[in-house]
């Protein structure tokens, strides 16, 4: 008897299940209205009706479109929140496909919803999270200011910032998620070149415009993609400032210890080539893991035949470690050997970590020294410091200006349509905290054959300077601008 009951129960359960399976409609030919019931969520519905869990933005979009004409439809402001009893519109497969094919061309019509833009950068190890954090803070500040002033196209802007951890594969995943799941209409940020090179491929695939704030690899804009713009200098331009400076001072024997990453290698190779062209051939490049704690053995080796200039090109904590160890060893900065540090020397923690060893160190600075500030720079520096309790560096300036450039282009385009934003970016002229930003070479004015490919969609006059701390404890604002000569505030080089 028990067996019979078991069989009966199984049969009853199967019968109950069959109508459900049969009722689950195949991908629709025409859209349909649907009333939300308990335990529904959008990705579940998109899987059920459209056969794809990731197709839910299409439901959100079409429901909001219907809502604009007929308020019996719900308005979905957050795709993660739907309520029981809401009437929503499930598009047909064709409608969903049409939405995704032209997602960005129609997104501009989504009245009322916030405009989502994506940010990316390293917020945790092994990425350079100091730079990433500063980048995110500056971008958030820019978005908040723009929202307080009325937003863009009459709508508020939401910045969704993804942590790329300094890893190219994370960059790809974050960009994919921002575009396909968060539905961002444009992207900005990034610190690491290797990660940017992965991200730009994803952005290109979906046709989403990107204004890169800090990656320097020539290949970023050298990709020649319509979607890619850059406010940061290219590595060739950046390295050339130090090379020209070294030639100007007249040092002959140079040793660089650079981090073994794309950032370090691109610079190392660039310097060897550029310095050779300037007649300086005694240049040695030593590669190091950026997490190296103790540089002493290699510094002892270098000290066997001290160079005129020692460069420690290690981002993050390695910058101060190497400088301090070279100083403790009595190798540099000394009257015989000058010391070239990384751009991270601009942060206030530099002095806490190197002590008096930082005096006479010089470094390349991407940003605007105080002597060249405009009123936007002054306002930005004051607001940032007040909000975050930290003096912002060049990375923050670039990230802040990148957001403004991007959103100003969107406003000028009159739409969030990707192509319209790209066209507007090609025509943009924006005076930001870094000065006037524009992109010289674009689809109407292609890069001349005799110029390098990275000039495409590139701001050609980023602010790159050589600064030197002539006194211990100086802030970056007080450091002497030593090069280029026409904008210098101090002597070319002050020797210990």
């Amino acid at each position: 008897m028990k067996k019979f009951w078991n069989l009966f129960l199984i049969a009853a359960m199967l019968l109950a299940a069959v109508p459900v399976v049969a009722a689950a409609p195949p991908p629709q030919d025409g859209g349909q209205d649907y009333v939300v019931v308990a335990d529904d969520w959008l990705s579940k519905l998109s899987d059920k009706f459209l056969g794809d869990v990731l197709a839910y933005p299409a439901i959100t979009y079409y429901t909001n479109q219907k809502n604009a004409e007929d308020d019996s439809y719900a308005q979905i402001t957050d795709s993660d929140v739907i309520e029981v009893g809401w009437k929503i519109y499930i598009p047909s497969s064709e409608e969903a496909q049409a939405y995704f094919a032209g997602q960005t061309t129609t997104a501009g019509a989504m009245g009322g919803e916030t405009i989502k833009i994506g940010g990316f950068g390293p917020l945790s190890a092994p990425g350079s999270y100091q730079g990433g954090t500063e980048m995110r803070q500056a971008a958030e500040l820019a978005v908040d200011e723009i929202n307080a002033a009325g937003g863009v196209l009459g709508r508020q802007v939401e910045l969704i910032f993804g942590d790329t951890e300094g890893l190219p594969e994370r960059g790809t995943a974050v960009t994919e998620r921002l575009i396909t799941q968060e539905g961002v209409v444009a992207l900005t940020g990034e610190y690491h070149s290797g990660v940017a090179l992965a991200e730009l491929e994803v952005a290109h695939k979906y046709g989403i415009p990107v204004v890169f704030a800090e990656p320097w690899a020539d290949e970023v804009t050298g990709s020649g993609y319509d979607e890619i713009f850059r406010v940061a200098p290219s590595i060739e331009f950046y390295s050339s400032i130090a090379s020209n400076y070294i030639a100007e001072v007249g040092w002959d024997k140079i040793v660089f210890v650079t981090e073994d990453t794309d950032y370090g290698r691109l610079q190392g190779e660039g310097w060897v080539e550029q310095l050779e062209a300037l007649g300086i051939t005694d240049v040695e490049v030593i590669y190091a893991d950026p997490a190296t704690e103790d540089f002493t053995p290699i510094l002892q080796r270098i000290a066997q035949d001290p160079p005129d200039m020692l460069g420690g090109v290690i981002t993050g904590i390695g910058n101060s470690r190497m400088l301090r160890q070279a100083c403790e060893l009595g190798l540099a900065p000394t009257a015989q050997t000058a010391y070239y540090a990384t751009t991270d020397s601009q942060y206030p923690e530099f002095w806490e970590t190197v002590g008096d060893c930082g005096q006479y160190a010089f470094f390349t600075y991407v940003g605007l020294p105080k002597s060249l500030w405009n009123e936007n720079t002054e306002a930005f520096m004051a607001t940032y410091e007040e909000r975050y309790g930290q003096v912002p560096g060049g990375v923050a300036m670039e990230a802040y200006d990148s957001v403004y450039v991007l959103l100003k282009a969107m406003e000028q385009a009159g739409s969030t349509d990707a192509q319209a934003v790209i066209d507007a970016l090609e025509d943009i002229e924006h005076t930001g905290v870094l000065g006037k930003i524009w992109f010289e070479y674009d689809s109407k004015n292609p890069v001349p054959a005799d110029q390098p490919a990275w000039m495409w969609h590139q701001w050609l006059t980023p602010n790159v300077f050589i600064l030197q701390y002539t006194e211990a404890g100086q802030s970056v604002d007080e450091a002497a601008v030593t090069y280029p000569a026409e904008r210098a505030t101090g002597s070319l080089y002050t020797s210990p």
Binding site: V285, D289, Q325
Partner: protein
């Protein structure tokens, strides 16, 4: 010759500190039978602790801050052992070996991200023990680093005395050899577990605090030292105290000579850790249980 001697000094100075940190890991392994994957994070916390103690109590002697920091982290270690590792030894956990790996790995991620959220991403450095460098004739060496090394040497000596001459030390050794037998003679192995974990992470914290003025601290600063410690304890023989000390010194010297003599200078620094790994592989090849490893019973 001077160059050789200067590299030897650099290697020994670092090797002593490596040994101190590895000793903590070995103590935990030999008593609890657990590899502490969060060892590097306790190293990091030791550095932050001494930094913040000195920032809050102005004018405090940096040595006091190091000691207090080490003690606080040791206490945190005791609490962690009582809460998360003791259930394993009481038989409350179904698969203790996997549990120990997961719980210490989890702790490692937790502490690193907690530090990032609490202390921020920027590097910090506590004030120096002594400013400037000491000229030893053949080499100038940072006063902070030399101080850290001498203190580490003193700590190693004290620890060896405790382990070999005191009742607690002998009890710890007994537990590492046979838990059941020690329980029969009246030593509580559970208490020894807690004590060993506290001492182990306290040693990691002391290493971190001693090196913080030389190397500065960020939330991920423990990653390299912890990997190096795993190498050292396997090299020295899992659970062997003299093995850890010798292993630490050996790795310190090999790293120093490797960076100093490798024919291609552009690779010399990059391969620093690799030189240690080569020695590690060679020793394991000819002596699979490490320098001082016990033969499996």
């Amino acid at each position: 010759m001077e160059y050789f001697l200067s590299l030897t000094i650099t290697g020994l100075v670092m090797g002593i500190i490596y040994a101190l940190m590895a000793l903590g890991l070995t103590l935990i392994f030999s008593i609890l039978g657990v590899i502490n994957f969060a060892h590097g994070e306790f190293y990091m916390l030791g550095g932050y602790m001494s930094y913040f103690i000195l920032a809050v109590v102005a004018g405090l002697n940096p040595f006091v801050a190091v000691a207090v920091g080490g003690l606080i982290i040791a206490l945190i270690g005791l609490i962690f052992e009582l809460g998360f590792l003791r259930p394993m030894h009481l038989g409350h956990i179904e698969r203790p070996a996997e549990y120990a790996i997961l719980i210490t790995f989890g702790l490692s991620f937790f502490l690193q991200n907690l530090a990032l959220a609490t202390f921020g991403p920027y590097p910090h450095r506590p004030p120096s023990f002594f400013e400037g460098s000491v000229d030893l004739g053949i080499i100038r060496i940072g006063a902070d680093r030399l101080t850290a090394s001498l203190l580490a040497l003193a700590l190693l000596a004290v620890l060896l005395l405790i382990i070999n001459r005191t009742w607690i030390g002998k009890a710890l050794q007994a537990v590492s050899q046979n838990k059941d037998a020690t329980a029969i003679v009246g030593i509580n192995p559970l208490r020894m577990n807690t004590l060993a974990f506290g001492m182990g992470v306290g040693l990691a914290a002391l290493s971190g605090a001693l090196l913080a003025p030389s190397f500065s601290i960020t939330p991920d600063v423990g990653a390299v030292p912890s990997i190096r410690s795993y190498i050292i304890i396997v090299l020295g023989g899992m659970g062997s105290i003299p093995g850890s000390i010798l292993g630490g010194l050996l790795i310190g010297l090999v790293e120093s000579f490797g960076a100093g003599y490798f024919p291609d200078p552009s690779r010399a620094l990059n391969y620093k850790m690799v030189f240690g790994l080569v020695i590690f592989a060679l020793i394991l090849l000819f002596r699979p249980r490490g320098l001082f490893g016990r033969r499996e019973a």
